[in-house]
Symmetry: none
Subunit: 205 residues, 4 copies
DNA sequence: GATGAATGAGTCTTCATTCAT
DNA sequence: CATGAATGAAGACTCATTCAT
């Protein structure tokens, strides 16, 4: 195990600023659409100074994805074998919905990346993500075997939770365009909808 | 009102080739990531020839979106006031899933566009799309009022159908990465899952 | 065998202009020291137009080296097994000296490349060049065996001819600095010197 | 006249390290191709620290050339008016060959510089170098007048010695490419060749 | 209709040098 | 003495678009 590289306060601050700016820009424009100029401006740094901290545009993107993947998977990790199955899953969906509301940039960052074939994160998908999903799918399968959930495919259940919740971040502009002129209120409606929806769909007969 | 310009067979063929090539490229790389070179090569035409048929890169993209929007909304349009509500909605979801399987490029084209704020299609969203959704939401509301569907928010129901079905096209690489080494079989599983899911969630008590 | 790509007159002209400009610039500044701006200016073309004809700066350099290698080796190739050994070798040296006088840019191009480790031409050196030298060295060895030349190492003889003649191109500025204020007259002196020199050194006892 | 600034041991050591690193890098990549980063890394110092000791990249290069010029000319300086002319000249060539073998970096440093027009050392060439060569050429001329050497142009004789010996350092990669798979043995062969060669060419009739 | 040729405006990246401590 | 941080200037290369035929 390697000692964590000691970072000065300036480094800490600038790296943070860069990653935050990059999240802004990458999530809105995708990797190719984003420019270092935009990121530099958003971070309040000069372009070469960006490259003093990160070797390349791609390195920034990769660092960002790596940093956020954990955060992104936390709700699924929190699925508790000891909890009540129906409640656990509904809670999971609601937590994901909260993240879509509170961290839409992060959601769109991943959406952009994956829609375009995940060229910079495929290994993470086929590695740690698959492992985690396999583990939780096994848990759900066990719950079903114990008759504590209705019979459903655990993988597609998880996919549906991702889809229905991230939709509110990734397709935000469409959602708002259709629900106009409502404001953010729709997240409460969505929560009610999804809550009822999943409860009904997975409650054991 | 002007008569539609008479198109020769060559024009017809080339425009088709361009749009098909553009669909390939834009859906995979997004607007900014795509280059006219790629499109020209895929279409088997020279770059200036592309611009003979379309005024600009953006014009190709816009034409493509416009052309596909109708196709894309057909399943929703087909929601039949005269049909059986539950069956209609389940069928709608399944038709959308079929489209995700058979026309993933189209799905990703829209996904790319909307994730990045729909800069070239926002008017369509706030216009024709909103109208159509409003209409069908009213239909669903009516069905609920007649007690032929369980009480749910019609807008979020529609969003959830979009999300859960398009997910299999837009996040295809992630789905496959997690379900590996299965092939395309997962679409059958998804159909079964979604069918049961929606039937359960919307059937009237 | 592939048909040679048909080139239009414009292509012919521009490619020539680029290669000639590149020879100017690369031979004077080396690969790293040369800039596309300089080459473009010398060729009377815009920088992107350069890259319309050659994929990259390196491609120009490689094309140039490839084009000139043949020319560069012609004098050695002309070493005639049927001729008089001493005369053949003296003539070879003199022809090389003529080339150093008439094509100093070409000489310096190779000098620059080889001094820095020949990163872009090593395969040519270890391939065609080595083969040609091996062949001619064998010829010299045969001549020696027939007692028509004095006993000398053929490889080092060839190296010495390269060195002594190309010196007048590669180290031109030094030669002129020392011989100042003479003009080009020194090439005649050099020819006399080398002629006598080699004749004496290789004539059979 | 000012007293030479007293240097601490640290300064002495660092300046040495910088010059040695610079020799490595400049001789391999030329002035433009070399970067301060490479030199700093090779010297084990930080980049700003380099510039504490030398005002600029160019200053390092100039210091290096100046430092080595003396060393480089020592063999010629050693040409002894009291010695035996033929032996003196053959020894000179052999000493130069030893230097090409033992100090190839130094040779390539000058080669790089001179091939590119000697922009940073032209004054040295036209000054001290020319003077020394003039002096030794006069010596050779005197020897010839005394009939102790064959009649040859002393300047071109000196050039040929430079050329044939430095060739083994400057064009090392080509020499090795052609003589492959021999190792360093070729220096012994070269010494034998040059020794016989010059002895024959300059011995009085 | 079609295309070879050309380019202006970017876009990422490098690098010698300076600043601040 | 030493270095982490920062940058202006330049450099290679890209690309949508235009020109000329």
């Amino acid at each position: 195990m390697q000692a964590p590289p000691q970072r000065t306060r300036i480094q800490e601050k600038n790296i943070s600023a860069i990653l935050d700016a990059a999240l802004d820009v990458f999530s809105q424009s995708g990797f190719r659409g984003a420019t270092l100029d935009q990121i530099a401006k958003a971070a309040g740094l000069s372009k070469p100074n960006l490259l003093y901290y990160f070797a390349s545009k791609e390195a920034i993107h990769v660092a960002l994805l790596a940093e956020l993947l954990d955060l992104w998977l936390d709700p699924l990790r929190a699925l508790d074998p000891e909890g009540d199955p129906v409640q656990e899953i509904v809670d999971y969906a609601l937590r994901k919905l909260d993240m879509a509301r509170d961290l839409p940039r992060e959601s769109r960052l991943f959406a952009n990346e994956i829609v375009q074939g995940a060229p910079r994160i495929l290994d993470k998908i086929e590695g740690p993500l698959k492992e985690l999903v396999d583990e939780k799918a096994a848990l759900i399968t066990a719950w079903i075997a114990e008759n504590r959930l209705s019979k459903t495919d655990p993988y597609h259940l998880i996919f549906s939770i991702w889809a229905t919740t991230q939709h509110y971040a990734d397709f935000d502009v469409q959602v708002r365009g259709i629900l106009r002129p409502k404001g953010d209120a729709h997240f409460k409606d969505a929560a009610a909808f999804l809550s009822a929806f999943y409860r009904c769909a997975i409650s054991p007969p």
